[in-house]
Amino acid sequence: MSSIETLPAAEPTAYYPSPLREFWSAFKRNKGALGGLIFMLMLVVCALFASVLAPYNPTEQFRDFLLTPPAWQEGGTSQFLLGTDELGRDMLSRLVHGARLSLLIGLASVVFSLVPGILLGLLAGFSPTRLGPFIMRLMDIMLALPSLLLAVAIVAILGPGLINTIFAIAIVSLPSYVRLTRAAVMTELNRDYVTASRLAGAGTLRLMFISVLPNCMAPLIVQATLSFSSAILDAAALGFLGLGVQPPTPEWGTMLASARDYIERAWWVVSLPGLAILLSVLAINLLGDGLRDALDPKLKNAA
């Protein structure tokens, strides 16, 4: 009898875990997503402490060790764990520094497309008759071009380089944020709480940023992770085509472009940078899938 009496006294938080904890318990059940997270953390550490972790300067050329195979293979030396490239530069150092560059490009282009994307999406959602259609038409035009091709076109005009790569990728990923924000805003605007805060006299800006936007964040976070991975892919593709970050900067795609000539005799020069790209993109996609499932269970089976 006494146990029944004590039950109502329990803290309400015991029944309803905090949103963060609820999210975490859903997220950690997904083993793939957890693996992706761990790999990403490793990559972030590599990027932050590249100059400490890398055994050599990524552009330093060891003329006596051109195309040295990795340490475990015949002819390799423990001096260069993953071998050297055609100019005698240490592969491991270049890959570690490449992580910094790829993450930088990914992060910067996500920020530069997320912020304007949210603003345009909010505008389009709040002004469905005037500004909205105009913005959406503009986004449709941008979507008509395959993203890589649009990025190639932009870089072709502005010239290759790190900043222009970021700029091009940010522009290319803008439309999906705008569409996503607008769609989320449109559904939220019909909810009772929006009407309530309108009646309470909330201004448009307050409605936009304080009432509506926080409720639209879940799909945006998922989209941000997914476009992070496609930013890394596109940046590498641009680098590979010779339109991205220029050599001797150790960008993974750029490294592959110069590796093409050694395909017959140095497998490590060709395989390792691509493997780095593949694993990072895979890790981020796994992370994104986990985030989507944990943040929005409704989307679970929607490919």
Partner: protein, 336 residues
Amino acid sequence: MLSFIARRVGLLIPTFFGITLLTFALIRMIPGDPVEVMMGERKVDPEMHAQAMERLGLNKPLYMQYLDYIGDLAQGDLGESLRTRTSVWKEFTTLFPATLELAFAALIIAGTLGVLAGVVAALKRGSLFDHGVMGISLVGYSMPIFWWGLILIMFFSVGLGWTPVSGRIDLLYDVQPVTGFMLIDTLLSDEEGAFLDALHHMILPAIVLATIPLAVIARMTRSAMLEVLREDYVRTARAKGLSPNRVVFVHGLRNALIPVLTVFGLQIGTLLAGAVLTETIFSWPGIGKWLIESIGARDYPVVQNGILLVACLVILVNFTVDILYGLANPRIRHQR
């Protein structure tokens, strides 16, 4: 249905003009003097400079330049390549079949394997096969295809010597271009072994180009199929005692294919972008390689109108998919 098509066409027109504005703006966004950029390293004397500005119409006000551009486009004049002096339209039409052939091959691979893998994965949900398909398709979806191409070349062309490294066909064969599709042309010609050679050249690029669409289609088919198999009409069909195969393929797959078809259409854009990379790796003489080479050579008329043509192509494909989707699904047709 007619009003549905009319509405879609209505949406097509502003998009088309938007694209022309974009390609028009592209060439004017080149930093610095366009004539000097186009002339490259050479020094340009002022008189020639003025002539070039005149010839390119760059001395007129911007809106006039745009109207001129639209006028030229309306007459089918897409300018000529600075390098080869042939018209952009002609270059596009000679190179396009190569890209189309490659894209077709890739779509066939991606479509058949993707749908098959997706259906089987959905039927055996939770099995080893299901996990395998999902895992592989996630890897495929994350694949940097330019690297994938290099790896395949390294294994199959360099290592095993099974396939050639580049091009569409061996130089030994003299095949007359009739359709532009190498596989068909080689069959029409009487050159012995030419067809097999063309097939050998095509297999690796097609696999590379098919990788991402294959992954997307497999995932999409699986989830659409899982959704459909839960529907009441599938249970009814089962209860009526229809054979499991009939239920899966006639009742299930047919309905599951509608979202898959849309994805199929959306993949055309991915395919064209992928073609840029694939054609560069395999030296495949299509429009992707053409565009990249033109960018490298600063051949601006080709870059500008080549991009315009590709964009129009994507718009048309999306339009067709939209219409087909409307035909297949009345609910879409009567929206709004």
